[in-house]
Structures are given as C-alpha cells and as structure tokens.
Amino acid sequence: MKSYALFLGCTIPARQPNYEISARKSLEKLGIELVDLDNMTCCAPPPLRSIDLKTSLALAAYNICLAEEADLDIVTLCTGCFESLAMTNSLLRDNMKLREEINGILSAVGKEFKGVKEVKHYLQVLVNDVGLTRLKREVLKPLDNLKVAAFSGCHLIRPSKYLKFDDPERPRIYDSLIEVLGAKSIWYRNKLRCCGGLLRGYADDIALAIARDKIVNAVSAGAECIATLCPFCFLTLDLGQMLIKSTYKEEYNLPIIHYAELLSLSLGVDPKELALEIHKIKIDKVLEKIGW
C-alpha cells in the first residue's frame, strides 16, 4: 500500500466536505493510505505571492519540509495547493542559490529543504500508482456515458515548465480518468480557459462574466455536468450560477461535480455518505442517470 502525506489546504476542510469525504473514501478504497501530518499550513497561493514572492516560497517549502521529515511524498486535492507546492519543489531543487536563501529563512524554525520528496496531485496517484487498467476493474457503477465537461482548472497544468503534469495545450490525462469511469469527456469551447475565480472579491463583475462563459460553453456542447478538481473552480461555477441567475437573469442548472465525487459514485460509495447537500446546483439528474 502506498502512503502519502495528505495536503488538504485551507478551503477544502473548511468549506467542501463533499470534496474531502469523496477523496478520502475513493483513494482509501483504491489502497492509497492518506496520512494527516501535524503543522501543515497554507500552501502559499497567488494572493500570498502577490504580497511577497519570497515569503510564499518559504511557506511552501516549510510544508514540504514537514513531509520530508515524515519521509512521505505529498498528495494534494486542490489544484492551487498542487501548483504552489510543486512549483516551489521544482524551483528549489533546480536553483541552489534560491534554495540556500530560502533555507536561510527556514533555519529560523529549524527546517531545511532537501528536495527529496515528490509533490503530486491525486490524479497522478490514480494514473501512476493505481493505474487506468486497475481503476477500470474497480468500477462497480459505470457512469453510463454521462456527458462530462472536464475542467481541470489552470493550476493543474500551468505553468507546465514547473508542474510537468501534462501537455499544456492538449492535455489527455484528466479526460482518460473520466472516460475510464464509463463517462464521456466531451469537447467544449475554451475548455482550458480559466474560470475567473481568483478575481472574485476584487473584480466580481469580470469574474462572473468569465465564469458565465464557461457555463454557457459547457451547456452549448451538451454537457450534463462539469467535473472540477479545484475548490475555487467549484465555488465559482456552482455558487456562481446563483449569481448568474440574479445578475444576468439566466438559469442553467448545470451540476458542478468534483471528479472525486464521480470517482466515489462509480466505485460504489453510497451518495448519502458524500455530503452532496453542499451543492447549490442539485446533482439529482446525474445520480439518476448513473443509477443511484
């Protein structure tokens, strides 16, 4: 059994039990042990980078040090956490001068970044540790050609120079993981474009316009749901449809479902265990289609 330090981040444990429960249940069902380490702090996402880039590197490196001390690779759920930690891991492994500077800061708390552990997104664990062949065998309730608009969010694939997750213009890994569950990953316009989520709270009008585009493009392509990996994309598109309704007087009712939820459902986890009431846009139609 492969073990990982689970990096939960801030948003998922505070606001999205549907994500945390489904991820824990599905990964554990597939034989992945998740270890909750003490003292993990904020991943150092774009808002912190906006205030001070060096502080963000030091904070991300501190989290990686905790995993190094526990002799575990890190697995993240949130793509934002993945980006912050994987980018820092890559930068500090390759740039010794920068590493020395950050280690100088970390010496204040008795830590030293060594660069000996991997930072992975849970999709990489599914593809590389579990494998598509075994995953296909484990599916008890295939998703019955459900038309899924795959939306990985930006920070799973970009900047690819540091993240090295997939081809940044023609990614395939996420779509393969959707299709192995028996769903259809459909093409839709501007599939790889941002949801606008990080502008919420600063320029709400622009953020909502970008989110609306994403919903409209998915609906126009016949999607029965959008599958997300990032808690901010989820909020932006799920709660966002309430705001689209009040601002644009348009109603789409397009279910937004985390991939981990689809995975759990296909592995036979009872929907009653998944805190699905968190969804603002109800997902009953999807449940019905896949026979729950």
């Binding site: 505070a14 003292n39 996402p45 808002p47 906006s50 205030i51 708390v109 622009i206 953020a207 970008i210």
Partner: protein
C-alpha cells in the same frame, strides 16, 4: 523619482528577471481570459508601460490587480517572459509602497492569525465530526510567524497598513 530605470528595478527582483525579453508581440493579451472580457486589463500594455519607465501608472493603477493568475500568457510567450511572475513582482512593489487591496490585507491578517486562509471554528470542527471527518491537525502558528518575521513579511505588512491609515 527613482534613480534607476523601472525596468531595471523589476528585473533585479526575484520574479521580474525576464521582463526585458519582451518584444511586444501580444501573444499574452491574445491568450488572456480577462482581456477577452474587459478592456481594463491588457498584459502586453502593462509590460510596455513598465519598459517605458511609467512606474507610477503601473504600480498605482488598477490593472496589475486584474490578472487572474491563470498562467496562459506565460505558457504561450514565445520569448519566455514569465508574465504572471512579473505581475506578482509588480504587486509586491505596489504593496511595498502601501498600496494593498482590502482583499489581500484580509488574507494576510488571517494568515498571520491562524496560518490558514480561513480559521477553523468550533462549529466547523463539530460539522467535520458529524461527517465522519478527522479533527483538523494543528498549525504551528509560532513557526509560521517566525518565517514571516525572517522574510520581512510582518514588517512589510504592518508598514503598508500604517501608511494607509
């Protein structure tokens, strides 16, 4: 006025090193979801203004805060200009001059107080238990603040607050 050119000031900072490579092709703006939606944001124009030494306009304007950090521009730039990082560098400089949007100030406050974006309340812990989720692991807030102190973050943050009030 600064004695060194703004472009030099940017490229000497971590994150800003690649700015001088820009040849203004506009691939960034053509790839930008925000530029497609609003004329308030144009990354090529921000870089141009910076290269032409318009420090005030860049740092005190609204535009640098409208990047959604999606990295599409950086991914596609044929010159390898790390545009998203340059935008972070410009924000870092603006904040050093006391210009910090409220959103970021709240973010920093939460981080200093709890080591998290959002503190975990007793109510939330109760909800987590009801869902069968394990209790949240502690954050070593003292260590986090030592890091913030060593990087100058705490000082920077109190200074930007002080100048505003």
């Amino acid at each position: 006025m600064s004695t060194i050119r703004f472009m030099e000031e940017i490229r000497r900072r971590y994150g800003g090193e690649t700015i001088a490579l820009c040849y203004q092709c506009g691939t960034c703006t053509g790839s930008c979801p925000v530029s497609k939606t609003s004329d308030r944001y144009n990354p090529r124009e921000i870089i141009r203004l910076a290269l032409l030494d318009n420090r005030q306009e860049v740092l005190y304007g609204d535009a640098i805060w409208l990047c959604a950090s999606c990295y599409n521009c950086q991914e596609r730039c044929p010159q390898g200009v790390e545009i998203a990082e340059i935008i972070f560098t410009l924000r870092n400089l603006a904040i050093r001059e006391g210009k910090i949007p409220k959103l970021y100030e709240e973010f920093a406050n939460n981080l200093v107080a709890s080591g998290r974006l959002a503190p975990i309340s007793k109510f939330l812990e109760k909800k987590r238990a009801e869902y069968g989720l394990p209790p949240m692991k502690p954050v070593d807030i003292e260590a986090v603040n030592k890091i913030f102190s060593a990087t100058g973050f705490l000082e920077l943050f109190s200074r930007s607050k002080g100048e505003k009030s």
